[in-house]
């Protein structure tokens, strides 16, 4: 991961949608998606710099509480990236992940968030381009949705 890209995402409040620099949190599994993100970085694929990556050992390590916490801390979007089905380093971690994230989408919608603020994507170690494409698409979706509606739980 290009560290410049991460740091360049520092934020400028919730101004007009044209100047809106979203805060996007990306959880990448150690074995596939982080390597995919790394490949995107070393291949110098251009991506909007508004995302921060957190490496986890498996996408199933992303406790739903992490997602809730991310929104509490002001994330405008959360992306969870893991190994393709049948490719999980831990055999079945990603199967848990996709169940959780499907239910999480229903949950955050009940909390009033646009469910598209949470996205699950499978990115393998060889898919630098897919990582780039996912980031571009997701950033555009989040920009279209605007800043997070969460205002400190009041």
């Amino acid at each position: 991961m290009n560290s410049e890209a991460v740091h360049a995402g520092s934020h400028g409040g919730d101004g007009g949608s044209e100047h809106f620099e979203p805060k996007i949190l990306v959880f990448c599994c150690n074995w596939c998606s982080y390597a995919g993100a790394d490949l995107a970085g070393v291949s110098r694929l251009q991506m909007p710099p508004y995302f921060r990556t957190i490496r986890v050992m498996c996408s199933a390590r992303v406790d739903p509480e992490f997602v809730i916490r991310a929104f509490e801390k002001g994330a405008d979007g959360v992306l969870v990236a893991g190994c393709h089905p049948a490719d999980c380093h831990y055999i079945g971690g990603n199967y848990r992940t996709r169940r959780r994230m499907a239910l999480m989408k229903m949950l955050i919608q009940q909390f009033g968030f646009d469910p598209d603020r949470l996205r699950l994507e499978w990115v393998s170690a060889g898919e630098g381009e897919k990582f780039q494409k996912t980031i571009i698409e997701f950033t555009n979706t989040v920009k279209e949705m605007g800043p997070t509606p969460y205002k400190g739980g009041v």
């Binding site: 406790d63 739903p64 509480e65 997602v67 809730i68 916490r69 929104f71 509490e72 089905p85 049948a86 079945g92 199967y95 848990r96 996709r98 169940r99 959780r100 499907a102 239910l103 999480m104 229903m106 949950l107 919608q109 009940q110 909390f111 009033g112 968030f113 646009d114 469910p115 598209d116 699950l120 279209e144 949705m145 605007g146 997070t148 509606p149 969460y150 205002k151 739980g153 009041v154």
Partner: protein, 339 residues
């Protein structure tokens, strides 16, 4: 015997069940009587707020506050009792986690008033008269507490020393708390550390006697509790009934599962967990029907599988919404419409 200690019990936004629970300790109430005078207990007898206001600070030994905080009066009395008490105990799920009244955080004052004072079938209120915080009449000014949009827990308003979850706290837990206070007063035994939860640190499953599948647990289909007659010996979750036990603190003795009803989570999250709802969501998702043909399942099929859970927020946060990190629902303001 030294001078009796003073205790107070107040109800905020609650149902009164906690007040009654205090009487459920039966003969132990005599132990309470032996060491304590009750100085304030609105459900029990007539006491005036001004009497409490005129007491010196820290002159009440223990205040039990039950109910959540959802209006200015709840807040005022919470702050008053905090000021006058040495020990402040959040008594019951509502004071600890928001409880059932906390589910009002999916809506707001405007919508609640519209439902209660206008839309219900039995309401005839063409001019839509609603309670006003202040009203001038010829005899003077009338005042009612201000109703809030968001329900809060006690510890979001004042400093709380101990938490006693449960809806209501069970006799055992109350006896435990009474003993702790009594031993402190009579023998000088130190009180538990500040912030302690007067219950177990383990999960409800640890106390539950039902037999669970130890290896390869899997739920084929989710049932509502009324849809099937569960096997009386087997784990309810294994039978497809959503039981919040895995994400809930033990201490109640697993009374609901023992009575063939699934746990709804009134004891709140276990130690180290802040969000009970996502904790249960995580546990349940991992159990749902993972088979050998999993890798061929599409995301749509997964979504269909998960929509068996009809109301994730209401199911997983039945008692803990105001205490969850998000606390309440939000409204998207962007151009996109949430479908």
């Amino acid at each position: 015997m030294a001078e009796k200690i003073k205790i107070a019990q107040y109800w905020g936004a609650g149902c009164g069940g906690c007040d009654v629970a205090l009487l459920d300790i039966d003969a132990k109430i005599l132990d309470v009587h032996a060491i304590a005078d009750v100085v304030f207990w609105p459900i029990g007898f007539d006491g005036k707020l001004k009497d409490i206001e005129s007491m010196p600070d820290k002159s009440i030994t223990v205040s039990f506050y039950n109910g959540a905080i959802r209006n200015s009066e709840n807040e005022h009395i919470a702050k008053l009792l905090r000021q006058k008490s040495v020990v402040m105990i959040a008594f019951g799920s509502c004071a600890c986690y928001g409880g059932t009244p906390g589910l009002a955080n999916v809506t707001n004052k405007k919508e609640i008033f519209e439902t209660v004072y206008k839309k219900t079938q039995s309401t005839d209120n063409p001019e839509f008269v609603t309670p006003q915080a202040h009203l001038k009449v010829k005899e003077g000014e009338l005042e009612l507490p201000e109703f809030w949009d968001t329900v809060k827990t006690l510890d979001q308003v004042v400093d709380v020393d101990y938490f006693m979850p449960g809806c209501p706290p069970t006799v055992n837990l109350i006896a435990m708390a009474v003993d702790a206070v009594a031993n402190y007063v009579t023998k000088g035994t130190p009180l538990p550390p500040k912030g302690a939860v007067i219950a177990s640190d383990k999960t409800l499953c640890d106390e539950c006697k039902r037999e669970r599948v130890e290896k390869g647990r899997r739920i084929e289909k989710i049932y509502q509790a009324y849809e099937i007659t569960p096997d009386p010996k087997k784990c309810l979750l294994d039978q497809g009934i959503i039981c919040i036990g895995p994400a809930t603190r033990a201490g109640c003795g697993a009374m609901c599962p023992n009575a063939q009803m699934p746990c709804r989570g009134c004891m709140g999250p276990t130690r180290g967990v802040t969000d009970q709802g996502s904790s249960m969501l995580s546990a349940l998702s991992s159990l749902l029907n993972i088979t050998d043909s999993e890798s061929k399942m599409s995301e749509e099929q997964i979504m269909t599988l998960m929509t068996q859970v009809k109301d994730p927020l209401g199911t997983f946060y039945a008692f803990s919404l105001p205490k969850s990190p998000l606390r309440r629902t939000v409204t998207e303001r962007g151009k996109r419409k949430v479908s």
